[in-house]
């Protein structure tokens, strides 16, 4: 509540201050010369002041921003602005350079050069958050055989993480009474937590909670035997 109120206040106060960056869809045409333009120009456009103009770097130390493709090949978008002058980076390895008094300049750097410059930071990136689902035998906190194997895979993933945060949320199908399902869902989550702890995961890093039959993976009528809803969902980060 209080946090919400503070957030609302902060937002209310801060929105007006920096002219709300209307970085939105409006600009790209002007900021994005390459897409439809003469195809082969991967080199940094030789501007009037080439890289040798070092004495002119009076104001700003050199800055570089590069957009990377994610593991699935998706490329996001970053807008770089200096005093109203901006470029949009929305292609893999599209880069912005700033030096001295210049505005952001669009350049395209070769991937190996980017990887080399940023290796220590990229290596230090935390492991991506992951999620797992484990399934149970009807009316019990016993894992199915497949899920036992999955638990093993999860443990080896956890061992890669020096300080994992693990949230285990238990669920049931809609067979039986709600109160009993609340208890069973929590029991499932706690059973998985106990299994992790017995394998060396610190108990303080695992939270267990139950959601009863409230969040079925597969919505059903009441009183339906649905194996896919008898599960725990585990978030690891």
């Amino acid at each position: 509540m209080l946090i919400g109120a503070i957030m609302a206040l902060i937002l209310a106060f801060h929105q007006p201050l920096p002219p709300p960056p209307p970085i939105a869809a409006a600009e790209p045409e002007k900021a994005l010369p390459p897409p439809v333009s003469p195809a082969p120009e991967p080199e940094p456009q030789p501007e009037p002041e080439p890289a040798k103009a070092e004495p002119k770097r009076a104001n700003a130390s050199p800055e570089l921003v590069v957009v990377l493709p994610s593991a699935d090949g998706h490329v996001g978008m970053v807008v770089v602005e200096r005093d109203g002058e901006r470029v949009v980076l929305n292609e893999a390895y599209a880069s912005s350079r700033i030096a001295g008094t210049s505005g952001p300049q669009l350049v395209r750097l070769p991937e190996p050069q980017v990887r080399a410059a940023f290796t220590p930071a990229l290596v230090a990136l935390p492991a991506r958050p992951m999620s797992f689902q484990l399934y149970f035998l009807r009316g019990t906190d016993e894992l199915t055989d497949e899920s036992r194997a999955e638990l093993g895979r999860m443990l080896s993933e956890l061992r890669q993480r020096p300080a994992p945060d693990i949230l285990v949320v238990g669920h049931t199908d809609s067979l039986g009474q709600e109160e009993k399902n609340d208890a069973l869902s929590l029991q499932r989550a706690q059973r998985v937590k106990a299994a992790l702890v017995s394998q060396g995961v610190a108990a303080a890093r695992v939270r267990a909670a139950g959601r009863g039959e409230r969040e079925p993976l597969v919505p059903t009528a009441d009183g339906v035997d649905e194996p896919r809803n008898r599960r725990v969902e585990i978030s690891v980060r």
Partner: protein, 144 residues
């Protein structure tokens, strides 16, 4: 007993209120500047709004935030967490960070997914609006 529970609850609330992320990886020399103090960074340590992460010449650090944003800094870096808010129910939030020098790698999280542009990264000369997802930033050391 009730009294102890109340204190435990208060302590938990304070901790969960203050921590917006957690250090996941540390290499070499890394510390957090917080309220005038220098704290040696270690995996599992909480990161709070207004913290400044500082890495040595051999240092690197990685942090996972509440919305699953991932940030890491390479050697000789100064990275400030200026503002962070995240509502885990609506995924609304705001994430402002500043790289004063060094290198930074970012994988944006649920805040940006919910509200493209709600994450901003400042450098001495520029400001970045983040609409997703992965990017890196380098700020050279100021010339002496």
């Amino acid at each position: 007993m009730r009294w102890i529970l109340a204190i435990a609850a208060a302590a938990f609330t304070v901790a969960s209120y203050a921590d917006v992320g957690q250090i996941k990886s540390v290499r070499g020399t890394v510390h957090i500047e917080r309220e005038g103090q220098q704290l040696a960074a270690a995996p599992g340590m909480g990161v709070r709004q207004s913290d400044v992460l500082v890495t040595g010449a051999d240092g690197a650090v990685g942090v996972t935030f509440a919305d699953n944003s991932l940030l890491s800094a390479g050697p000789k870096s100064v990275l400030a967490i200026d503002r962070y808010s995240f509502d885990s129910t609506t995924h609304a939030g705001q994430f402002d960070a500043s790289l004063r020098q060094g290198t930074l790698a970012v994988v944006s999280g649920k805040i940006v997914k919910q509200t493209p542009g709600a994450m901003r990264v400042r450098t001495p000369a520029s400001i970045m609006g983040v609409r997703g997802t992965e990017f890196v930033v380098q700020v050279d050391e100021p010339a002496k």
